[in-house]
C-alpha cells in the first residue's frame, strides 16, 4: 500500500500521510502513559496552552498517571482538590494488585467531580480536552476519564444593550451556553422544557442547543428545526446569525423569518407560545422560530402593561414603521408629481423652502438619507470615546449647515429626521426598512404615488408568500386567523388571552383553566 502511494502526486501523498497520521493518532487509546502522552503531544503540537503532566504514584511509584487539559479552560483548584489529590491519596493508601480495578475504583468512588465520562478512543479524549474538560489516564487500560472541571468563563449576566424595556426582567443572556440554558430553566421549572444538544461546524465544534416545551411546541416544527440544523455543513458557527442564514425559509428575503432575542423573559414567553429556540455557545443571541411579521412590533412591555396602553403602543409602532418606510417617498411624490393635492398655504411654505436648492427633491433625499445612514453606521463602528464628536458633526452638518448652504431644504431635513427617528422604533426591521426606503424613493421619483402603490403591492405579495418554518409570515392577517387577532394590532388583556396562537398549531392550546380568567375579589365582609 505504501509503495502505491508513493507513486501518486506529492500533494496527495502529503494529504494521505496526514490522514494516516490522523487516523493513527485518533485510534484506540494505547495502554501506556508514555504512548498516550506522545500521541497527545503530537496532536497538540504548537498549542502552548496545552498542559499535560505525568505522575508516578502508588506506594512504590509504580502506577503512572497522566493529566491533560487546556490551560485557562479548566478550574485548576477544582482539578487539584477534586481529582488529583483524592486519586494520589487513594493510590498511596491502597494495596495494588493485578487487574483493572484501579481504573474502575477511580471512576466509581475516588474522583469527586460529578460530571465524569469515559473516553474509549483518542478522538473522544481529544474532543473532551478541547471543550474544556480534563483528561485522566491510568496505565494499563484502553480507556480514559474525561472530567468536567470547566472554569466559569465570560462576563456576568447583565442587562442587554440591544433590547431594553421599561418593565420586566433586566437579565440578558451571556456568551456561555450553559449559563443561558440555566437562566431559561430558572424561568420554566418544568421537565417538559427540552434541551437537545448538538455540535455544528467542522472546525469550531460549536455547541448548539434546540429548546422547546414538549406538549406545547408543534412536533412537526421541532422536527423541521432538527432537520435544517443537521443539514448545515460548514466550517464555523461563530454566532446564531450564521445559523439564521442557513435555516431561513427564504434566504434572499429582506424580511427576517427567524427571530432573535437576548432577553430571558422574552424567550420564555416565545417558548410558552409554542415556538422553538436555538441556543448557540458563544453568543448571547438566541434564535426563535417560527418568526412572524407581527412579532416585530411586539415587545415584552406589551404584556406587562395595561392592554389599552399596549394597544396604543402597537399602533404607534406600526405607524412609525409605515412612516419610516414611506415618508421620504411620499414627500418626493408629493413635491414632484402631485402638487395638486397640497393645500395652498402649505404649498407656499414648500415652495419657499425649495427655492434656490440646486438639486431635484430625489437627489436631495438621496444625499440626506445617505448622510444619515453614514452617521448611523459610523456611530456603530467607531470607538465609543469619540462618539460625542460624531454627534456634534452630525447635528451641525445635517441640520444646520446643509440648509444654510442651500444644499438641502428645511423640510427635507425634517422629513429625513422623522424617517430616521421612526426607523429606530421597530428594531427587528431596521435593515429591511433601510433598503425598502430606497426602493420606495426610486419608485416615487419615477411614478409618484402610482409607483409607491406598485411597490407596496409587490412587497405585500412577497410578505404573503413568505413562510417561516411552514407558518405563513403574515399570520394572523393572511390567512386571517380571527382567533389570533387578540395579540396583533390590538392587545387584549392578559387574563383574556386564554389560548396560545392557533397558527403555530400546538397540541395543547389552552393556556390555563378558564375559571382562572379573572380573579374574583370578594369585597363583601
Amino acid at each position: 500500500m505504501n509503495e502505491r502511494m508513493r507513486k501518486r502526486g506529492k500533494t496527495e501523498n502529503q494529504n494521505d500521510n496526514c490522514d494516516n497520521m490522523s487516523t493513527d493518532l485518533y485510534g484506540p487509546i494505547p495502554e501506556t502513559v508514555k504512548e498516550v502522552n506522545d500521541r497527545l503531544g503530537k496532536i497538540f503540537s504548537g498549542c502552548s496552552d496545552f498542559m499535560h503532566r505525568e505522575f508516578s504514584c502508588g506506594k512504590n511509584g509504580l502506577v503512572r498517571m497522566l493529566v491533560a487539559y487546556i490551560d485557562g479552560f479548566v478550574d485548576k483548584r477544582a482539578l487539584n482538590q477534586d481529582v488529583i489529590h483524592p486519586v494520589l491519596k487513594f493510590l498511596s493508601n491502597t494495596e495494588l494488585y493485578e487487574g483493572s480495578s484501579i481504573y474502575k475504583s477511580l471512576k466509581e468512588c475516588v474522583v469527586i467531580d460529578s460530571d465524569i465520562r469515559e473516553a474509549n478512543d483518542m478522538r473522544q479524549a481529544v474532543d473532551g480536552i478541547v471543550s474544556g474538560e480534563a483528561l485522566l489516564f491510568i496505565d494499563g487500560e484502553n480507556k480514559a476519564l474525561v472530567i468536567g472541571v470547566k472554569a466559569p468563563q465570560g462576563r456576568q449576566v447583565m442587562e442587554p444593550d440591544t433590547e431594553t424595556s421599561i418593565r420586566g426582567a433586566r437579565e440578558g443572556f451571556v456568551e456561555n451556553l450553559l449559563t443561558n440554558t440555566a437562566l431559561l430553566r430558572k424561568r420554566i421549572k418544568n421537565p417538559n422544557l427540552k434541551l437537545e444538544m448538538m455540535q455544528l461546524g467542522e472546525q469550531t465544534k460549536t455547541d448548539v442547543c434546540i429548546c422547546y416545551i414538549k406538549g406545547i411546541a408543534n412536533e412537526e416544527i421541532v422536527n423541521e428545526v432538527r432537520r435544517r440544523l443537521k443539514k448545515i455543513k460548514t466550517d464555523a458557527i461563530l454566532d446564531t446569525g450564521i445559523i439564521e442564514q442557513y435555516i431561513s425559509d427564504n434566504r434572499l428575503s429582506l424580511f427576517p423569518t427567524v427571530g432573535n432575542s437576548e432577553k430571558c423573559d422574552k424567550l420564555a414567553g416565545k417558548l410558552l407560545e409554542g415556538r422553538v429556540a436555538i441556543f448557540c455557545d458563544g453568543t448571547p443571541y438566541v434564535l426563535t422560530v417560527p418568526y412572524l411579521y407581527i412579532e416585530s412590533i411586539q415587545t415584552t412591555d406589551d404584556y406587562y402593561d395595561h392592554a389599552f396602553f399596549a394597544t396604543f403602543m402597537r399602533l404607534l409602532r406600526l405607524t412609525a414603521l409605515m412612516i419610516s418606510n414611506l415618508l421620504l417617498g411620499m414627500y418626493v411624490a408629493l413635491v414632484c408629481f402631485h402638487q395638486t393635492v397640497i393645500p395652498f398655504k402649505l404649498m407656499i411654505t414648500l415652495a419657499a423652502s425649495r427655492q434656490g436648492i440646486p438639486f431635484s427633491p430625489f437627489t436631495e433625499a438621496i444625499l440626506m438619507i445617505l448622510a444619515f445612514e453614514l452617521l448611523r453606521e459610523a456611530g456603530i463602528r467607531m470607538p465609543k470615546p469619540i462618539g460625542q464628536a460624531l454627534s456634534i458633526v452630525g447635528a451641525i452638518v445635517l441640520g444646520e449647515a446643509s440648509v444654510a448652504a442651500g444644499i438641502a431644504s428645511n423640510l427635507m431635513v425634517i422629513v429625513v429626521a422623522i424617517t430616521a427617528v421612526c426607523s429606530f422604533v421597530v428594531p427587528p426591521l431596521i435593515r429591511s426598512t433601510m433598503l425598502l426606503r430606497f426602493i420606495f424613493l426610486i419608485a416615487a421619483n419615477f411614478l409618484g404615488f402610482l409607483g409607491i402603490t406598485l411597490v407596496i403591492v409587490a412587497v405585500f405579495i412577497h410578505l404573503c408568500r413568505l413562510r417561516s418554518f411552514g407558518v405563513p409570515y403574515m399570520a394572523p392577517f393572511a390567512p386571517l386567523t380571527v382567533h389570533d387577532l387578540k395579540d396583533s394590532l390590538v392587545v387584549v388583556p392578559i387574563w383574556a388571552m386564554v389560548t396560545r396562537p392557533k397558527i403555530l398549531r400546538q397540541q395543547e392550546n389552552k393556556r390555563g383553566v378558564k375559571g382562572t380568567k379573572r380573579q374574583e375579589v370578594n369585597t363583601k365582609p
Binding site: F337, I348, T349, A351, A352, G448, L450, V457, I461
Partner: protein, 394 residues
C-alpha cells in the same frame, strides 16, 4: 409541513405583470419640481375691445412671503414683492394660458388659484365659452371662488396691494368667507358654477366684487346672468333676499325697526324653498317659503322682551322684513332682468316635465309675469344672555 413550490409560478408572474403594466400607461407621468413652477394665486379673465381674451394671473413669490412673514429679510435693499401680476391677450383662453409663458420664467401652476375674477366686458359677452377651459383642464381646482368684477377690471383687482394680507387672492377669499356669514354675497365655487351652467331651468348668479378703496375690495352683491350673459346686478339687501329664497343663508344680521328703535336679529338657521303652483296645467303662482330661527343680537330700543306676546310681535316684524327683501330681489329679477336665478324653472322641469317641454324656451317671459306668494315663518329662539334692554321703558 413545507409548502410545495408553485409550478404555475411563471404563469402567475406573467399575469401579474400584464395586469400591472396598463397602470403605467395612465397619464400621470411628468415629474416636475416644485421650484420650477409659478404658483398662481388668482386668475382674472376679461375681453378686450377687439374681442380677444385677456388673461391676468397673480403669481406668488414664496421666498418673499417667507421673508416677510418671518421678518428676516436680508440686507437693507428693497423688499421683494410677494406677488407679481402679468397679463396676456389671446384668441382663446387656452392660447392665452400658454402664451403667458412667454413673459414669465417658470410654468404656471393653476391648481393653487384661489379666485377667478371675471371682467364685466367678458360677462356681458357671455362667459360660457370662456369657462369651458376651466372645466376641461385637469389642473383646475374646482373649489376656487368665482367673482364678477363690477366697475373695475380683473387686472386692477389682482394688482391691488393690500396691507391686510401679503397675497391679495388670499385676502379676497377671506372677504368672501366673511361676507357669506353676513348673507350678502353668493359664494360661487367653480364647480357650483359649472353645475349651474349645465342645469336646466336656472339662470346663473355669481358673486360680485368691487373696489372699496385704494387698497380694499368689497365682495358684496350679485351679478345676474341671462343666457350666460350679464344682465345686471343685485345690491346686498336684494342679494340677501335672494339667498333666503334659495336656502343659501348661513348666517345674517337683519335689522328690524320696532316702535322707537331697532332690533338686530341674528339668523341662526334658515330654510327656504321655491315652488310654482299650477292651475289647470298652467303655472299660476310663484311660491317662496322660508323658515327662520333667529336670536336677538342687539336691542337698540326700550320695550321689554319678557312677555311672549312681545316676542310674537317681534317675530312678525322679522317676517315682514325678510319678506320685503325677498320681494325686492324677486321683483327686480322679474321686471328688470327677466332672469329666473331662483330656479323656479328647475322645479317645473322636475314636477311638470310635460309642461316644461313646451315652455322651456319662453320660461323667463312666463316667470316675469307670474304673481308671487312669499311666506316667511320666523321663530325667535334666544335673546342672548339678558332679556331686557339696558335702557328700559316704563
Amino acid at each position: 409541513m413545507m409548502y410545495k413550490k408553485d409550478k404555475k409560478r411563471t404563469g402567475r408572474v406573467l399575469l401579474a405583470f400584464l395586469l400591472i403594466f396598463p397602470l403605467l400607461l395612465t397619464g400621470c407621468w411628468s415629474n416636475r419640481d416644485l421650484s420650477d413652477m409659478n404658483i398662481v394665486a388668482g386668475v382674472g379673465l376679461d375681453r378686450t375691445e377687439d374681442g380677444k381674451v385677456l388673461l391676468t394671473v397673480q403669481v406668488v413669490e414664496p421666498g418673499a412671503i417667507q421673508s416677510t412673514s418671518s421678518g428676516n429679510a436680508e440686507g437693507g435693499g428693497p423688499q421683494p414683492k410677494p406677488v407679481f401680476v402679468e397679463s396676456y391677450e389671446g384668441e382663446t383662453v387656452f392660447e392665452a394660458v400658454r402664451g403667458i409663458l412667454s413673459i414669465v420664467d417658470k410654468k404656471l401652476f393653476f391648481s393653487t388659484a384661489q379666485v377667478l375674477i371675471l371682467g364685466e366686458k367678458l360677462s356681458q359677452d357671455g362667459i360660457e365659452e370662456a369657462m369651458d377651459f376651466f372645466q376641461r383642464d385637469n389642473e383646475m381646482d374646482y373649489l376656487m371662488d368665482v367673482l364678477v368684477a363690477k366697475d373695475v377690471t380683473p387686472r386692477e383687482i389682482l394688482e391691488m396691494e393690500t396691507d391686510i394680507d401679503a397675497i391679495p387672492a388670499i385676502y379676497i377669499k377671506g372677504t368672501i368667507e366673511n361676507t357669506v356669514l353676513r348673507g350678502t354675497v353668493k359664494k360661487t365655487t367653480l364647480i357650483d358654477l359649472i353645475k349651474d351652467m349645465i342645469s336646466n331651468g336656472r339662470q346663473l348668479a355669481i358673486g360680485q366684487i368691487s373696489k372699496a378703496g385704494e387698497k380694499e375690495v368689497r365682495t358684496e352683491g350679485l351679478a345676474v346672468f341671462k343666457g350666460g350673459k350679464l344682465a345686471g346686478w343685485l345690491d346686498p339687501r336684494e342679494t340677501r333676499g335672494y339667498l333666503f329664497a334659495i336656502d343659501k343663508i348661513e348666517s345674517a344680521i337683519v335689522n328690524v325697526p320696532v316702535d322707537k328703535g331697532k332690533i338686530a336679529m341674528e339668523i341662526m338657521r334658515s330654510r327656504g324653498r321655491v315652488k310654482v303652483a299650477f292651475e289647470n296645467g298652467e303655472p299660476s303662482m310663484l311660491t317662496v317659503k322660508v323658515e327662520i330661527e333667529a336670536d336677538v343680537g342687539g336691542y337698540e330700543g326700550s320695550s321689554s322682551l319678557e312677555s311672549s306676546d312681545n316676542l310674537y310681535f317681534l317675530e312678525e316684524k322679522l317676517e315682514e322684513e325678510v319678506k320685503k327683501e325677498i320681494l325686492m330681489a324677486l321683483e327686480k329679477t322679474q321686471k328688470e332682468y327677466s332672469s329666473d336665478i331662483f330656479g323656479f324653472g328647475t322645479y317645473v322641469r322636475k314636477y311638470h316635465p310635460r309642461y316644461w317641454k313646451n315652455a322651456k324656451e319662453g320660461w323667463d317671459k312666463i316667470f316675469s309675469k307670474l304673481q308671487a306668494d312669499i311666506r316667511v315663518d320666523a321663530k325667535i329662539v334666544r335673546t342672548g344672555i339678558v332679556r331686557n334692554p339696558l335702557k328700559e321703558g316704563k
